[in-house]
């Protein structure tokens, strides 16, 4: 028996497997017992109602996908009346993902969702910030720090900052989030991408561009998880292209304390509980008695530390 429990800051998870925001909802209860996984993470909500982006909202790119859903939201009222009670049926901690167009709106929502039944708040700072000409907060360290400070003041709950790969400054942004008060980092959101139908000459997504997720994203997200684990002292939750227990182990070795599974659930809706089982077997076969022993166990000392944060020269 391998102990799969991990601590994400003050929050104890029975295992390190949880869904990625936007790829999970109440409906997955049709497929498996939702108490089998380490945490529940909701789709990002906004304060007010939002329709979301034009269709098509999804397309396939070699072995991965693009999406541009655009955060349709039924607003905070619906969330508190309907969604929280649903998840309160379960023993598993509930993490609510939130977002806002401005730092103040974001902070207001953050305090509004600080309610009984919510165990942590994931702040999706990878979404456009209208005060920074449409750039996501998490593209720059300064805007990351500013928004995190406001969010920190708005809640006593654990605050997880979800970072974007659309930046050249991952370690700096990670440190800014930590300094701004993040209790953990979720690494990472989708990377901005595009596909065009060569027959119609139209973009394959209604919104022209969208986020790349799935296996293609994995080596990028893994690099970011490693950078963030090295750059900060807060737990890192890996996310991006994770499809099986081997991928989970790779993120844990790189320094992640837990992981989120997104697109893989679309391919196999029961993948999360399967990964929990497989991870236990994989750790057992490696002689581990606790998953905590592999976290951050990457062997990188032989390397010149200079190369670690250097932009790898091609």
């Amino acid at each position: 028996m391998v102990d799969l429990g991990v601590d994400v800051g003050s929050l104890k998870l029975k295992n390190p497997i949880m869904p990625a925001s936007g790829t999970f909802s109440e409906e997955l209860a049709d497929v498996f017992d939702l108490d089998l996984i380490g945490a529940h993470v909701t789709k990002t909500i906004t304060r007010g109602l939002r329709d979301g982006n034009p269709t098509p909202r999804v397309c396939e790119v070699s072995g991965s996908m693009l999406n541009s859903i655009g955060i349709p939201s039924k607003g905070v009222g619906y969330f508190i009346e309907k969604v929280v009670p649903f998840y309160q049926q379960y023993k598993t901690p509930l993490v609510v993902s939130i977002s806002g167009n401005t730092a103040d709106e974001f902070a207001t929502l953050c305090s509004e969702v600080t309610v009984e039944g919510v165990d942590a708040i994931e702040v999706n700072i990878s979404c456009p910030n209208i005060e920074e000409d449409g750039k996501a907060f998490a593209i720059r360290p300064s805007s990351t720090y500013d928004v995190m400070c406001k969010l920190r003041q708005a809640t006593h709950l654990p605050l997880w900052a979800k970072l974007t790969p659309n930046t050249g400054e991952t370690p700096e942004v990670a440190r800014a989030a930590e300094e701004g008060g993040a209790d953990a980092l979720v690494v990472a959101n989708t990377i901005l991408a595009m596909a065009i139908d060569i027959r119609t000459r139209k973009p394959k997504l209604g919104n022209l561009m969208g986020g790349l997720s799935g296996p293609s994203l994995k080596p990028i997200a893994l690099r970011m998880a490693y950078q963030c684990a090295r750059a900060t002292n807060i737990p890192v939750i890996g996310c991006g292209g994770i499809s099986n227990a081997e991928d989970v182990l790779e993120f844990l070795i790189a320094g992640a304390t837990a992981v989120q599974v997104g697109t893989a659930t679309f391919i196999d809706p029961a993948i999360m509980p399967k990964i929990v089982t497989d991870l236990e077997a994989l750790l057992a076969s490696g002689g581990y008695s606790s998953v905590r022993d592999v976290i951050g166990s990457v062997i990188d000392e032989e390397q010149d530390p200079g190369v670690v944060f250097m932009e790898a020269a091609p």
Binding site: A29, E60, Q89
Partner: protein, 280 residues
């Protein structure tokens, strides 16, 4: 009587969607464009199926094709008595090309049944379906259901030419009346279709319309339905990722309560109220 049975999302202890590897019994071309795939399925899965629902198929990576996401496919037939699940599909891209490579004895991973199927209310006696192209795949099991419930069904089948008219025999074998209209002999025009349907309404009375796929047919049936106050349902398509209602990829706009709402084809559909549907 309602053909739809789904567990509410609030019943996590009673999962209803199956994810299974099903053996392929056969997978043969039906005519130049369509193929029929027959899978062997367990009875408990087949008993969950309803006309208008779909399965989300994990198309295999064979024959050089590398589909990634699942592909939605309507239930063409489900036979608990002989343990068979049928799909009728058109080869259009990577996923369906991959499906076409499956041979007897291979397995296909399916997820379903998913979505909300067709409604047949207790007092709907004469059902009329208007189908074009692969839309037949979706509407065919309605004939099965109508027969089981002892209702009268008229199937108006539209196609480019007579040789791609499928399922005519299928409908007739189930005791349905079949009216065929084709582009080649000009009978499939909207004007002619309107005349044909108006005649049905006038002579036999129609209790409900069912259709799918064509924008022009939708507009026509909305008009006729409104004119005579006849309800109807339409099965719609949209690109999907999860198929379960989680990702909100598959929405379409609907008229509801004076406004417009986005509904998920995979969850609130694929079958929707015909008057609420918006032509595209």
């Amino acid at each position: 009587m309602n053909a739809v049975v789904r567990s509410s999302a609030l019943e996590p202890t009673n999962p209803v969607a199956f994810e299974r590897d099903l053996p392929v019994i056969s997978n043969e071309p039906v005519n130049g464009e369509y193929r029929l795939m027959i899978l062997s399925a367990p009875v408990e899965l087949l008993e969950q199926c309803h006309a208008g629902q779909f399965f989300h198929l994990l198309c295999p990576q064979i024959g050089g094709e590398t589909p990634y996401l699942r592909r939605p496919m309507s239930i063409y037939g489900f036979y608990p008595e002989k343990g068979e699940l049928h799909f009728l599909y058109k080869v259009t891209g990577e996923g369906t090309r991959a499906l076409s490579h499956l041979k007897t004895g291979d397995t296909l991973n399916v997820l379903g049944p998913l979505g909300r199927g067709f409604t047949i209310e207790d007092d709907w006696d004469h059902l009329v379906l208007v189908a074009r192209g692969v839309g037949l795949a979706t509407l065919a099991p309605l004939a099965l259901e109508a027969k089981r419930l002892g209702r009268k069904l008229t199937a108006i089948c539209s196609a480019r030419s007579a040789d791609v008219l499928m399922s005519v025999e299928y409908f007739e074998a189930l005791g349905a009346r079949v009216i065929t209209v084709t582009d080649t002999d000009g009978t499939s025009s909207i004007e002619n279709l309107e005349a044909v349907i108006e005649q049905l309404v006038a002579l036999d009375g129609v209790d409900a319309f069912y259709t799918c796929g064509s924008n022009r047919i939708l507009r026509l049936l909305q008009k006729i339905g409104e004119r005579h106050d006849i309800p109807g349902e339409i099965a719609l398509e949209q690109q999907m990722a999860c198929g379960l209602g989680m990702c909100h990829c598959c929405v379409r706009p609907f008229r509801k309560d004076g406004g417009q709402v986005n509904l998920r084809v995979c969850r609130e559909g694929p079958v929707f109220d015909m008057q609420e549907a918006m032509p595209w």
